[in-house]
């Protein structure tokens, strides 16, 4: 098991930083997810780790060996890593068994031993019956499993996954999320996983690293980044949040226009511009009530029944529209007046 460390890692193309001074430590056996929208630099970061790209600055270290630094990169084949690609990259001219055996053949293992290990690995990924198939003869999910088997069988020091599930349909994607976590629990390779899907990251990762514009916005456990977002971007990207801007009255209270909101965790600079976030499902909506702390009146602009909840768009007195996920049995017609509670322990100050 390997200890992976990125120090000030940067990649610039024609002066544009795609990856911008990233520092990250992945302890042995951990699964780290790089999560972010497309173009945030997560895939480039992964390819820097793999050695397909040379850094413009900074280092990639594994167990304190420098594998990449400015202007040089140990070739991928000498890194004892393996990778799962977005396209799966199964070689169409080889059977599944040949694909999986490829890495072991390179290591000069005896034929009998290779055969035994390949059979064992194919069984572990539930492809025992498909050894002699060609990739073109299998479904997307089976190809995905074959790609996993090919990457795991070489017992890599570090496993890299590049959007591995994005070509699968929704049901299969959910199944494979758990499958990847199950295999990780079984083998415990140090793993870096790139995705833009929040649920994928939350299911699989020990540590979620939210990236935006080449930089790390926040790193932490799933609970951490979800419940305690430290930037507007993280709050909005993970699960949807209302961002309310205003002027701080004191360290705990923010004047957002139609109301003064109190945050349980005081951290504002009095008199300064600031904002706070509250998730859709944390906004409490009731049909009647009276003015009070962190409570204000709103008009229903739109309401949508989504089965397990009701998605509401609510207009505040100053015209700001916020969204709320209310219980499904709360039936309020459009244009109705309602009261919304923004509980102070859910109002999280965001650093400006």
């Amino acid at each position: 098991m390997a200890h992976l460390e990125l120090r000030g890692l940067s990649k610039r193309y024609d002066g544009n930083a795609v990856v911008d001074r990233i520092d990250l430590t992945v302890p042995p056996g951990n699964l780290v997810c790089l999560l972010g929208p497309s173009g945030c630099g997560k895939t480039t970061t992964l390819r820097l780790v793999a050695g397909f790209v040379e850094p413009s600055d900074g280092e990639v270290r594994v167990n304190d060996r420098v594998l990449s630094a400015r202007g040089f990169a140990t070739p991928p084949e000498q890194r004892r890593m393996s990778m799962i690609f977005q396209s799966y990259a199964l070689w169409p001219h080889m059977t599944v068994a040949d694909n999986v055996a490829y890495g072991l053949n390179l290591r000069g293992m005896p034929k009998a031993e290779i055969g035994r290990r390949v059979a064992e690995m194919l069984k572990a990924v539930k492809l025992g019956a498909f050894a002699e198939r060609y990739p073109g003869e299998m479904s997307g999910g089976q190809q995905q499993r074959a790609a996993l088997a090919r990457a795991l069988i070489v017992e890599p020091e570090i496993l890299l996954l590049d959007e591995p599930l994005s070509n699968l349909d929704a049901a299969l994607r959910e199944e494979m999320r758990f499958e990847i976590r199950r295999l990780h629990d079984a083998y415990r390779y140090t793993t870096v996983y790139v995705t833009h899907d929040q649920a994928e990251a939350m299911t699989t990762a020990d540590l979620i690293v939210v990236m935006n514009q080449g930089r790390i916005e926040q790193a932490g456990s799933a609970e951490d980044v979800y419940n305690r977002p430290r930037s507007t971007f993280v709050a909005a990207f993970l699960g949807g949040a209302n961002i309310l801007k205003g002027r701080a009255i004191d360290r705990a209270r923010l004047d957002v226009g139609p109301a003064i909101l109190r945050c349980a965790e005081p951290s504002f600079t009095p008199g300064g511009e600031a904002s706070l976030s509250i998730r859709y499902h944390e906004v409490k909506v009731r049909a009647d009530g009276a003015a009070g702390d962190n409570r204000l009146e709103a008009r229903v602009v739109r309401q949508t029944f989504l089965g397990s909840l009701r998605d509401l768009a609510l207009e505040l007195a100053d015209g700001t529209v916020i969204r709320a996920s209310a219980p499904p049995d709360l039936a309020v017609p459009p244009d109705a007046r309602v009261w919304v509670d923004l509980p102070s322990e859910r109002c999280r100050p965001l650093p400006s």
């Binding site: 420098v66 084949e77 990778m83 396209s87 990259a89 169409p92 790609a147 090919r150």
Partner: protein, 576 residues
């Protein structure tokens, strides 16, 4: 960072630099220099000769001589008329056939497509000779039949005229238009047409408003190739225009090399061809480069075919009639001529003879040398050219090094150099030390390599683009080096592209005449040159025998190459 870790870091850096001896840069540089010499040297000498007089002083007099003498300006006008007519004729005839084959339920469309493509293999000069046999004013088979049927004293069709020349060249350039348009039609995704259908457009209306506009770039590209071919072909005009007493630019350049040779004037006459070709190709790149117009994206899928209904049979007859012009009639004529005592002889036992076969294979001393030279050159050029094209396409498709764009340009540039111009340039470059290659097969090898490189390069480049880079990266990350990956992953996936490139070069070399005619000597005659010579002496029977043998050998070699590459790979090459 402590001093110790810094030291380890630097140590590893040095070791990795040495351990990863990257050969791609030296290979890139070497290939670039070789290509630059291969292409640059002939062009440079052309320019030098065009701008000097006999004593070597700089002058523009060569150009003013050409511009003021009707013996030079008339061929230019003839050539322009020829090019525009051929391009128009090829596009007008081949595009509808491509549409019938690709988009309708025309019976036998697969066979028709194969036959159209196969007519590529016919060397244009052989086609011209076959049409001599068919439509020479007096001895032509068709004209004799016409006279027999109508009793008219006049021929139906005289092939030794400008319209005759236009007709024959159009016959052998229309396959280019056909292949480009048919492929473009195949690639139009069905949903683009469905989108018009769902809005209420009928099938015919959809065809006219959506399908055809989408292939206009392909039709233009095909017409451009036809134009360039008509401009740069040497064999067909030499065979059909010279007896009729008129010249095209290529035959004029050739005649300037006949005794007494005037290389300065020839070089000056060759340059306009080069300039026009470059201009046309640049215009084409501009036209086709407009985004969203040529790139036909969307979901693929079996294109829907238009039911022809009662028109099926008439359409088929029409297509077969058109196909008979480059294929059925000429080949029938060649076969007949090879066993008849004279081409126009009636089909009767008393006129059947093995005389031509006997002459070609037993009596005629040049046959063996010519077959041997052609085979050696075709195999050598195909193998060397494929390797060169493979290296260039690997470097340009996979290694983003500065300089790979330049390499790409060099590998494509020969497209703009007409064969006869290249012939002149190579003659000027290699009749002097240090590389006095004139008179050896090497100079022909260089000529053929230059001429065929662009086709092979384009074929292999598109093969490389079809192999997703992640397939190679997957091998690297599992522990295979660059070379192992190339051998075990890339090469097997490229196999069909490599074989195709090899076959293209082989066929191209066998049918090449325009450069060979400038460069051959007594010992380095190739088949095309021998056939051209025999035509000068009017020995059509022997030509027919040689021509059919040459085609049979071509088919045999190409078939063998495809068989070899297909052995042991029943694999469906589908991206992962």
């Amino acid at each position: 960072m402590t001093a110790e870790t810094l030291a380890t870091g630097v140590g590893q850096r040095v070791r990795h630099r040495l351990g990863r001896l990257d050969l791609s840069l030296p290979v890139l540089v070497a290939t670039a220099i070789f290509l630059a010499l291969l292409i640059g040297l002939p062009v440079a000498w052309l320019i030098v000769y065009a701008l000097t007089n006999r004593s070597g002083a700089v002058t523009f007099s060569n150009f003013s001589t050409l511009a003021s003498d009707p013996a030079f300006t008339e061929p230019l006008v003839t050539t322009l008329i020829l090019c525009f007519s051929v391009a128009t004729a090829a596009a007008v005839v081949a595009s509808p056939i491509a549409w019938l084959v690709s988009r309708t339920d025309l019976p036998g469309r697969r066979t028709i497509r194969a036959l159209m493509t196969a007519s590529f293999v016919t060397p244009p000069f052989l086609g011209a000779i076959a049409w001599e046999i068919l439509a020479a004013p007096n001895s032509g088979i068709l004209n004799q039949m016409w006279r027999g049927l109508t009793g008219s004293p006049d021929p139906l069709f005289d092939i030794y005229t400008l319209p005759g020349l236009i007709f024959v060249i159009a016959c052998y350039t229309s396959p280019y238009v056909f292949v480009l348009v048919a492929n473009a039609l195949d690639r139009i995704p069905a949903d683009l047409e469905d989108a018009a259908g769902i809005l209420g457009a009928s099938r015919w209306r959809t065809t006219i408003t959506v399908t055809i506009p989408l292939v206009v770039p392909a039709i233009l590209a095909g017409a451009l190739i036809a134009f360039l071919q008509a401009m740069t072909l040497f064999g067909s005009p030499a065979i059909l225009a010279l007896p009729a007493g008129f010249h095209t630019v290529t035959t004029k350049i050739f005649s300037l090399f006949q005794y007494p040779p005037k290389p300065q004037l020839a070089a000056a006459a060759a340059l306009p061809l080069l300039v026009i070709t470059v201009m046309l190709l640049v215009t084409q790149a501009r036209l086709l480069g407009r985004r969203g117009y040529t790139v036909i994206g969307g979901k693929a899928g079996e294109p829907r075919r238009l039911a022809l209904g009662r028109l099926r049979i008439p359409a088929l007859i029409l297509v077969l009639c058109v196909l008979s012009l480059p294929l059925t009639l000429p080949y029938a004529a060649l076969l007949k001529a090879s066993v008849s005592s004279f081409p126009g002889a009636p089909l009767a036992a008393e006129f059947l003879t093995w005389r031509h076969v006997n002459f070609v294979f037993i009596e005629f001393s040049q046959t063996r040398t010519a077959f041997w030279n052609t085979l050696v050159l075709a195999l050598g050029t195909a193998t060397l050219g494929t390797m060169l094209a493979l290296a260039i396409s690997y470097l340009t498709a996979r290694r983003a090094i500065a300089g790979s764009r330049f390499l790409e340009f060099l590998a494509t540039a020969p497209v703009a150099i007409p064969g006869i111009v290249l012939g002149v340039g190579l003659f000027l470059s290699y009749t002097r030390p240090p590389l006095a290659l004139y008179g050896t097969l090497w100079i022909l090898l260089l000529a053929f390599l230059t001429i065929e490189l662009p086709v092979a390069f384009q074929q292999l480049r598109s093969s490389f683009h079809a192999v997703h880079p992640e397939l190679e990266e997957a091998s690297r990350i599992l522990g295979a080096g660059r070379l192992t990956t190339l051998a075990r992953i890339t090469a097997p996936l490229l196999k069909s592209g490599v074989v195709a490139a090899w076959c293209f070069i082989f066929i191209g070399v066998v049918r090449e005449l325009s450069a060979a005619i400038m460069l051959f000597t007594a010992n380095t005659k190739v088949l095309s040159v021998v056939i051209y010579d025999l035509n000068e002496s009017g020995d059509l029977g022997a030509i027919a025998v040689l021509g059919t043998t040459m085609l049979l050998i071509t088919f045999a070699v190409v078939g063998f190459a495809n068989w070899i590459s297909g052995v042991g790979s029943g694999v469906r090459l589908r991206g992962g």
